[in-house]
């Protein structure tokens, strides 16, 4: 670019910005607040809501650990203990990990692929409102003292009408069906976004690995969640209308619940883990200053884990007495899952060794993740061996294993992401010193909390008991575990305080504080309503490193940047080679997704309370909500 051309170019840019601003800005006010379809606002809401549930689930776990700190304590009664550990599991799985990981995806997938929004902006808003409503619904159970109390996997016959006649389990089943609407809509939205909205030139083997991780996660949600929904529907039919799916006396079978639940439940573990893998693969290159090693192998690894994850559900049922031939197949598949997982770990390690690591907070959290996840993976391989599994089944060894896997692969990457991408979301850097303090507190606290639980499991301590006898000698290890849990909580609190302090008072971040390699650093911090002044053309896997013209935030039309100022529009590109195909006009803000959610919330409570007249009214109102949503109002709509 010559000196004389520069003012002209910037004049073009400012007129482009003006036109984009006019079309994309959402005016302040209640209508806009309830009706927003901006993926960044929605992503932040997912993130904050998920983190609020993280705090709630954390408080539940601290109550549990306090009760278990010593033998024969009486902090909680058995019923309160059952409700708290059940809600802890449900919260951490469904209301923390999935929303926060989807929230990061919501915020960053369109930015990373160079799109102006998600494929279905109103569905996106709807997904958030349903999450909020379903979370409210599930937590309202505490107000009447009837929270789900049979664990997050809710086995029948314990959860059947005969043994849990109160509405605790109805809360569980209705709540999870309701929440499933949000996850399913979100999954479709993510998949279509990733397949169809990528910037020109972002061919399949240039997709950022974080985006691959989200794709693998959402594909799993789409094909695994129906099993949970179906199981919950059948359970409600049994409980409310005396159907016989799980009633052995009438030809039903309690094991059907276990099969259906784990057909969902095992992929659920990977649903929570895969985006974490993606976060690690996205963060490491920036902090070691070189491209990821083995891109193709990592991507194939992620997708293989997603696929094999559907074939291992029975390894949660090794102790129920199934035929040996079934167990052998599942055992084999469970061993196999270790291979694609290990490929990814080795690729990260190779990248770390080949590059020059900068040991700041995001990378520390990633290293913590790798350390913890590998320990969880090793105990996972131990479980694939059937005799070992049967020996420690339902003991604290399992509790230790699942926390190493899930806290390792979800919580630590989420915190890494928070320090890495927080500046993009708030425009301010987080405090580095407190970040490191937070990491070390969390790392030490976590290991102190959960490593002793392996030993407790080997000593024979069963999971889900509310207290234990002094003579068993488990007190010391449990006390260590409780102390660790509180240290972990303090570490988390440090980051929360750091976040809220830094988001207004931190140092300004600028567009690209870490010299990142993917397109989110091409946008301003925080990004404009329209994300990019020009939708970039991508020519490599690390566009920000390979294409110097992206550095000033506006790729000019001569370099392939498309301003696309003719309306509220984004580009549709072909699925494999990302050639521009069409200009797609996106829907505007609408309060109907919110109103529809209110209709469904009424429906959920009506079903919970067996009020069938109100249920019918709520269904009619929800259909009305859908009509209102799609009713043409002179604005752009796909017809």
């Amino acid at each position: 670019m010559t000196a004389t051309a520069a003012p002209e170019a910037s004049a073009t840019t400012s007129s482009t910005v003006e036109r984009l601003e006019a079309v994309w800005a959402e005016p302040p006010g209640l209508g806009s607040w309830l009706g927003t379809v901006d993926h960044k606002r929605i992503g932040l809401r997912y993130f904050y809501t998920g983190m609020a549930f993280f705090v709630a689930g954390g408080i539940e776990s601290l109550l549990i650990r306090t009760q278990l700190a010593g033998p024969d304590l009486d902090v909680l009664g058995p019923e309160a203990f059952n409700q708290l550990f059940s809600m802890h599991g449900i919260t951490m799985m469904f209301l923390f990990a999935m929303p926060v990981l989807s929230g990061f995806g919501n915020y960053f997938v369109p930015l990373m692929i160079g799109a102006r929004d998600m494929a279905f902006p109103r569905l996106n808003a709807f997904g958030y409102w349903v999450l909020l409503a379903a979370g409210f619904f599930l937590y309202s159970s505490f107000l009447v003292g009837r929270a789900p109390n049979d664990g997050w996997f809710n086995y029948v016959p314990l959860s059947g009408e005969a043994f849990t006649p109160a509405i605790n389990i109805d809360y569980y089943a209705v709540g999870l069906i309701f929440l499933g609407i949000s996850s399913t809509g979100g999954a479709i939205n993510f998949i279509v976004t990733i397949l169809k909205l990528r910037a020109p030139g972002m061919i399949v083997n240039r997709i950022p690995i974080f985006v691959w991780g989200e794709l693998a996660m959402q594909l799993q949600i789409l094909f695994a969640l129906p099993a949970l929904t179906l199981a919950s529907v059948l359970l409600l039919l049994d409980r409310k209308f005396d159907f016989n799916f799980f009633d052995a006396d009438a030809g039903g079978d309690p094991l059907l619940w276990q099969h259906l639940f784990w057909v969902f439940g095992h992929p659920e573990v990977y649903i929570v883990a895969l985006p974490g893998f993606g976060i690690a693969s996205a963060i490491i290159p920036t902090w070691v200053r070189r491209p990821i090693v083995g891109y193709t192998y990592i991507v194939i690894g992620e997708l293989s884990v997603a696929l094999i994850g559907f074939g291992v559900w029975v390894h949660h049922m090794f102790a129920v007495g199934l035929p040996n031939i079934t167990l052998s197949f599942i055992s084999l598949a469970s061993f196999m899952v270790a291979i694609p997982s290990a490929i990814q770990v080795f690729a990260w390690l190779a990248t770390l060794v080949a590059g020059r690591p900068v040991l700041r907070t995001p990378l520390l959290f990633v290293l913590g993740f790798i350390f913890i996840f590998v320990i969880g993976g090793v105990t996972g391989v131990m479980f694939a061996a059937i005799p070992f599994d049967q020996a420690v089944h339902d003991s604290y060894f399992v509790v230790a294993h699942l926390h190493y896997v899930l806290v390792g692969s979800a919580v630590f990457p989420i915190f890494a992401a928070l320090y890495h991408w927080g500046p993009k979301m708030t425009g301010r850097l987080l405090d580095e010193r407190w970040g490191k303090v937070s990491f070390w507190l969390m790392f030490v606290g976590f290991n102190l909390a959960f490593f002793p639980q392996h030993l407790l499991g080997l000593f024979g301590m069963p999971r889900r008991i509310y207290t234990y006898d002094r003579d068993l000698g488990w007190g010391g290890y449990n006390m260590a575990s409780t102390i660790g849990a509180f240290i972990l909580a303090v570490g988390i609190l440090v980051t929360i305080v750091n976040w809220f302090h830094s988001r207004t008072r931190g140092a300004p971040a600028g567009n690209d504080p870490w010299r990142g390699e993917t397109l989110e650093w091409y946008a301003s911090s925080p990004p404009a309503h329209y994300n990019f002044v020009t939708i970039p053309t991508v020519r490599g896997r690390e566009p920000m490193w390979d294409q110097p013209e992206l550095a000033d935030g506006v790729q000019s039309p001569e370099d392939g940047g498309r301003p696309l100022t003719g309306g509220h529009a984004t580009l549709s590109t072909s699925m494999l080679d990302a050639r521009p195909q069409a200009i797609v006009h996106m829907p505007h803000a609408s309060v109907w997704p919110f109103l529809l959610t209110l209709g469904l919330l009424v429906l959920a409570f009506a079903v919970l309370l067996d009020n069938w007249a109100l249920s019918v009214a709520a269904v009619v109102a929800s259909v009305g909500g859908l009509i209102g949503w799609y009713w043409p109002r002179g604005q752009t709509q796909e017809t």
Partner: protein, 214 residues
């Protein structure tokens, strides 16, 4: 907004790269909505597959006699007539779709209406003839077989009902003049959904009505 509307009404739009024009009306795999329907059908098909798997799981856990407890093997005459009616509904729906692709709004309206009548007939026969007959013999609370019978057929019926409502919606939009040869994604998506509901019936029919005869 006038400038925006003017561009929007044109078939081609400018991307801002000098000389580059891209279509702003499209159907099939270029449209996000088309893919949305594809994946929705994917997750719905999974739900049906799991329900059918549950049927066979409980059947084979039940022992050699199926249906159990003296319930008669289902009679095939009525279900096969219903099948013929339901499957024949795919033809007018298909013609409605090809009609609008050629710009023929009348064929769209008529095709949708005929498809609606056939689908509604199927649903009325399920609820008004088939179910009452079965309920004389057994109900959903009788045993696991009864639960499976009514849940699986009811679940499919609910999908037919959803399809009928989509058909009505598409009809309303057709009368509003929303569709022509270049804008008809709603028709396309409805057609896809309707064919899906018809195809799934093949599996429901085979599971509920045919396999007990084996």
């Amino acid at each position: 907004m006038t400038a925006t509307t003017a561009t929007h009404d044109a078939l081609l739009g400018e991307t801002g790269i000098p000389g580059e024009l891209l279509p702003q009306r499209y159907d099939g795999p270029r449209a996000f909505g088309w893919w949305g329907m594809v994946w929705l059908i994917g997750t719905e098909a999974t739900l049906f597959a799991l329900l059918i798997a549950s049927y066979f799981y409980l059947r084979f856990r039940n022992g050699p006699v199926w249906p159990p407890d003296g319930i008669a093997t289902p009679d095939l005459a009525l279900p096969l007539i219903m099948t013929a009616i339901l499957w024949s509904s795919s033809i007018p729906v298909h013609m409605a779709h090809t009609g609008i692709r050629a710009g023929n709004v009348t064929r769209l309206k008529v095709g949708l209406a005929v498809g609606f009548v056939l689908g509604a007939t199927f649903l009325v026969m399920t609820l008004g003839v088939e179910w009452p007959e079965k309920l004389d013999e057994f109900g959903p609370t009788t045993n696991a077989y009864g639960s499976l019978f009514f849940t699986l057929t009811g679940f499919h019926g609910a999908h037919v009902l959803a399809g009928l409502m989509l058909s009505l919606w598409t009809q309303v939009r057709a009368w509003q003049g929303a569709f022509d040869e270049s804008r008809h994604l709603t028709v396309q998506n409805f057609t896809m959904y309707w064919h899906f509901v018809d195809i799934v019936w093949a599996f429901v029919l085979a599971t509920i009505y045919l396999t007990p005869h084996l």
